[in-house]
Symmetry: C2
Subunit: 389 residues, 2 copies
């Protein structure tokens, strides 16, 4: 197997190292396409090129590994390689979530394999398990902690009494958060992963814009104290589930009791829980962030290509399911600042109301559709956290 | 796909039900071989036979599902079916652990598939993940809570302050333990699973007799109090690991800190942790006991046979590893009754000694080989628990 790499950051360099160390995989990196040819690099210069076509048009290269940040450029590389019949490995969740229908069509047309285990919860082999092991219609829900950055922040808040701002700072200083952390903190990143899993779990293509995401950026001292007072910690949970032929999905912070299985999933670890008719819940835990964890998934994808593995997307071809959130009702805590700030008529019922100088909150039931459409959700003085047993 | 079933207990009946409900799998049960034809059963009588050959010699039946208790009879059925070129699904861990070399040879000779995901931690898809996803030599250890019965007992002890005897009684009354619970309580069952995983994780055939197993049958009030005093609970942990080309394995109770990921694995749940160079630890959690959990795994195996899935045993063909426990050293707590009861010269070092009217204990380092060979280990007044960080 001859590989062509796009990008040579930490994941790419780790891959280089492992491919030279491991006995199990015989794969050579033939060429590496990079943007800045003048950077000092630990690999001889003749491996590098700045011309993508030197990889894409090289008939000796069987496998393209795409490890760059830019989503649009990544799509060009991936689709160009697939169109030329090359197998492709990528971990670019944003690009994949937005381009799944086109990428699916390209795989069908060319017969080329496109693997992206590293795009969902890094080292956790969740796509492969959904493809291979849950290949029947007994699966009812897939949810979990899909974002390492926010889990680091929330762990620091609840274990070391940091404020949100202090915890975010810690995550940034230690390389767990970008200088612009909004993709993670606001819940875009776990939502992208959710959109990918929706296809492999339930056979539905769902555009990211259709899925409610609400992050942890508005968590304040009052919310933290409220969680503590109820024996809970906070986790950012992405969730999709099926009821008969309808599939719904959303990503919200959640109160999690201290003895719940999610409470022990700390720092950069991710967890995915599957529920099915027979097995009740099953949980996969592993590192969800970091170059090594992603490199591990990329390596396993490369390894699988040795025996011509591809995703079959069986759920999509089998299924009569469709995306429909109209019947989903959530129980939520809505913290706000003043009377009239949130619309009571949006709620199906309200079971608790609290008013003080520090904050107001309601606990009540609301449909996912109403929550998603609510103008008050955009008000930075409002925070929403799910209560779920 | 036409199935022939051996045994029609709870798993078999659950399978019948699901196969008639699910859209994903089109598989018909054609015939069911049972021992007692006169029992009342919820399925028409013409499905049943007491003659194994009516299944084994039926050319229309592609897949044999073996769901009986008796290990010797199960081996006859499985080997008979494989020899006739039929695919086989089984969950009989005792039979498989003891007969792996013969069963492997039969698969190689006949080309027939033999799947047994249900034999290891029931609903957790660990064999398939080891086969497919960890197909490179970066894996360093596989360990976990492999037995549901003992985990129910230990959970009851630590969560509800029951004694060992009371907790065992609870497990028996609620169907989590057999009337003769020794296979579970003494650690045979998790050891059988460990022997199966040793082949799929590290490519070594290990006879169960070679592996130290020590259960929880000797846990007394003093041990429980000791665990509590150190902020720990007890879990029965089976473990195998690789160092260079040497693989070692054992099954021992372990002190587990209350915030450790294993502490939240409670009641009939099992957990498997994998450690590898790239992904650090990854954990799979799911129901490890019960008819539904086993049925779930059996069903997934049947489903995989639709696309001609078989175990490749790649680690065995790739690997230069061998089973060798000579360099393994453990840190253990050894509770005993009186001076001179355990042999001090067996220990590499002893870091704590405690003597009272209630009990004595030592904490020290001992080689796995010496522990395995120690005559004092057979003394019912001695209990051994591992301390591991």
């Amino acid at each position: 197997m001859k590989l062509g790499l796009f990008g040579f950051g930490c994941v790419g360099q780790g891959l280089w190292k492992v491919l030279h160390e491991t006995k199990g995989i015989r794969a050579d990196i033939k060429r590496i396409c990079i943007k800045h040819p003048d950077k000092q690099r630990p690999v001889p210069a003749h491996f590098f090129t700045t011309n993508a076509l030197e990889i894409l048009d090289d008939p000796e290269i069987d496998i393209v590994v795409e490890l760059i940040d830019d989503a649009d450029a990544a799509f060009e590389i991936v689709s160009g390689a697939l169109a030329r019949g090359k197998a492709v490995v990528s971990a670019n969740k944003k690009m994949i979530a937005h381009r799944l229908p086109e990428l699916y069509a390209l795989q069908q047309k060319t017969g080329a394999a496109f693997l992206y285990e590293g795009a969902c919860c890094a080292s956790i082999p969740i796509i492969r398990n959904l493809e291979e092991y849950y290949d029947n219609d007994l699966l009812t829900s897939v949810e979990g902690i899909f974002n390492g950055t926010t889990n680091v922040i929330l762990s620091k808040i609840f274990e070391e009494n940091l404020s949100f701002a202090e915890a975010l700072k810690f995550a940034q200083v230690h390389g767990f958060a970008e200088s612009d952390p909004s993709l993670d903190v606001d819940g875009f990143d776990p939502k992208f992963k959710l959109c990918i899993l929706l296809l492999h779990a339930f056979g539905v293509f769902v555009r990211p814009e259709k899925v409610l995401h609400f992050g942890i950026g508005r968590v304040n001292a009052f919310d933290i104290e409220f969680a503590r007072s109820r024996g809970c910690v906070l986790k950012l949970v992405a969730r999709c589930f099926r009821e008969n032929d309808k599939v719904a999905a959303y990503c919200l912070p959640r109160f999690v009791p201290q003895n719940h299985r999610y409470a022990s999933v700390r720092h950069e670890y991710n967890a995915v829980t599957l529920e099915s008719a027979f097995s009740e819940h099953q949980m996969f835990v592993g590192k969800g962030a970091g170059d090594k964890a992603t490199g591990c998934a990329v390596l396993s994808d490369i390894s699988a290509l040795r025996y011509q593995y591809k995703y079959e997307y069986r759920k999509f071809s089998q299924n009569g399911t469709f995306f429909d959130t109209s019947e989903t009702e959530l129980t939520v805590y809505v913290r706000h600042e003043r009377e009239g700030q949130i619309a009571e008529q949006d709620f199906a019922s309200i079971s608790e109301r609290y008013i003080s100088g520090a904050a107001h909150y309601w606990i009540g039931k609301i449909s996912l559709e109403k929550l998603q459409a609510a103008a008050w959700l955009n008000d930075v003085g409002v925070n929403v956290i799910e209560l779920k047993n």
